[in-house]
Amino acid sequence: MAEIPKEEYLEKCTTACAGCTSSLSLRYVLKAAGPDTVLVVPACCTSILQGIYPNTAFNIPVYNIAFAAAAACASGMSEAFASMGKKTNVIVYAGDGGTVDIGIQALSGALERGTDFLYICYDNEAYGNTGMQRSGATPMGARTTTTPGGKTDAKKDLDRIVAAHNIPYQATATPAYPKDLYEKVKTALATPGPSFIHILAPCPPGWRIASDMSVTVGKLAVKTGSWVLWERKYGELRISSPSKGAMKKRAPLRDYLSVQGRFKGISDSAVNELEQAIEKNLAQLAKEEAGEC
């Protein structure tokens, strides 16, 4: 495996919160992408951590665009670069709200049209930038500022929605496993056509965890099967090694939930539903990897 390059494209001392894993992820994403890259960013935490005009925390071009619009903007950009014969990487870096809720129409359109781009959804499971309101990606039982009693609906299954578009490359990742993330971005950018990576991004203020716990919580998400690392190349699924281990011997779900303030007081029935969802998901993925479905 290649070493992760030392070059930085996201400078230090941004306005991101302490322990922010979306900016940590982005560091690795940009190291994998290199300098001939344009980042397209809808309204999300990444809009803020760039700093205030005329400054920017990035040393690649970053194009900010309206909330619902990221994938469509990347579509136009990708076609324009193609018309000039340029190979510049076009990467959307969008939060979960901008992906599973308001941006899903543009995303679906761009995927269906075979747009040559990489769409990354960094998922902190709520509208983080506006103060942690629930999104379609918020898991059941999690308290947010608009679900003060805990969310009663299940997390939207974004990955299966994306999978229905039969794109050439799709993966999940989390920066708790940075080499896995780095390699997946490399593969995505080397694959022509649309690629999609869904990153679980633990959020200290939103998840009510200490800022030095975000990587640990990311690992717990994988070890408990709450987050499964995999990649699907041209329809062929491969479960990534950290999740392979977790599937053999899964850590108890309570280990993941109990360290997060957002799940404080979660009902037994909600935990039960989360557990069942994990088992179903793992079973489906295992079957798919074995070629049984």
């Binding site: 071009p61 469509a72 950009m77």
Partner: protein, 369 residues
């Protein structure tokens, strides 16, 4: 080359001649023929453009934005609800100083469903920072679309331009059309702030009040500068291709006591109404407004105005009437609201408005007694 075309086909032919690199579009009645024709040009290899068949008008405008910021020429077309669905991105395109050109085939808004001509769609975008032109013939739709690229891309402007043509009564009617070979009338597009990975920067980054204010002012500064650029584009067009245009299209205005002021196809009806009224001894003239934004200086010199409005600001008044009133406070106006939702308005009707004018009053044609 002399041919015959619909308003929509004329727009498509002009776009082909302007050679955009990217066209992103979503179909809506009555704009469809424009995007179908462009798709045919691209498929047949007559146009070397990337055609993005987006899933919505919001994405059509956004894809044009994403393409334009790389420094290439872009085009889209829409109507009515499509234009309103783009509204957020129209502000974005102007704020990002992108010279996108769009044809808007004017159509009423629901409910109920009505696909016929009305100007409310374009009027609702009045404050987005787009330059807006209104045309009245197939030839003018073609010529104005070509001029739009030159005006939008002028480095003193760098604002998007909307060319408005009335749904069905212009988009779908056939008239003669003289096409041109554009040559270097539209110079290659140079976008000073285009994305360059060799010289990375942030676009649309979080911006404080002082800088935001400056950027808004820069838009207005370009707008205020735009009349000279538009006039230059119109004069150069006349020089090269022989057809003259200006901020207004005036018919027998010089000695007129009464001016019929209108936009779009109603202006052509108004010219026939003027002929009828002149035979009756009424010294009428027709002043059709071609530029809606920037709104032009008008030579109304203490004459009575009969203003035909094909769009309305509820709780206030006819939109064209209000634009004139706010610039010429003492103007004597009979404000006629007519033609909404494709209501038929003939030259006889317009002559009747003039005969029965009640200055400083408003009249809803077909509703008021």
């Amino acid at each position: 080359m002399l041919t015959v075309a619909t308003g929509n086909k004329a727009v498509a032919a002009a776009v082909k001649e302007a050679k955009p690199a990217v066209v992103a579009a979503y179909p809506i009645t009555p704009q469809t023929e424009i995007v179908e024709q462009i798709a045919e040009y691209v498929t047949a290899g007559e146009m070397d453009a990337r055609y993005i068949p987006v899933e919505s008008e919001h994405s059509a405008m956004t894809a044009c934005i994403g393409a334009s910021i790389t420094g290439v020429r872009t085009f889209t077309a829409t109507s009515s609800h499509g234009l309103l669905y783009m509204h957020e991105m129209l502000h974005w395109a102007a704020g990002a100083r992108l010279p996108i050109v769009m044809a808007n085939v004017n159509r009423a808004l629901g409910p109920g469903w009505n696909v016929w001509a009305e100007h409310t769609d374009a009027f609702s975008q009045r404050d987005t920072g787009w330059l807006q032109f209104f045309v009245s013939t197939v030839q003018e739709a073609y010529d104005t679309t070509l001029m739009a690229f030159r005006i939008a891309e002028d480095t003193g402007i760098l604002l998007p331009v909307m060319v408005n043509l009335d749904g069905f009564v212009l988009s779908h009617i056939m008239q003669s059309l003289e096409t041109v070979e554009i040559g270097d009338y539209i110079p290659p597009m140079v976008l000073p702030h285009k994305i360059d990975t060799e010289n990375p920067t942030g676009y649309g980054t979080l911006t404080g009040p002082n800088d935001h204010f400056k950027f808004r002012w820069e838009i207005e500064r370009a707008m205020r500068h735009s009349p000279s650029v538009i006039r230059d584009a119109e004069e150069e067009f006349a020089k090269r291709f022989g057809r003259k245009y200006g901020p207004t299209d005036e018919y027998l205005c010089d000695d007129a006591d009464i001016l019929i002021v209108s936009m779009g196809t109603l202006g052509k009806e108004a010219e026939v109404a003027v002929d009828i009224l002149r035979k009756e001894g009424v010294k009428a003239g027709s002043m059709r407004i071609r530029w809606f934004r920037p709104f032009p200086e008008l030579d109304i010199r203490d004459r009575d105005l009969v203003v035909l409005d094909r769009g309305y600001s509820f709780g206030f008044g006819g939109v064209l009437t209000d634009s004139i009133k706010s610039r010429y406070r003492d103007a004597s106006i009979f404000s006629v609201v007519a033609g909404l939702g494709g209501q038929e308005v003939t030259y006889d009707d317009i002559a009747e408005f003039v005969r029965n004018r009640r200055m400083n009053e408003e009249y809803w044609f077909g509703v008021d007694a």
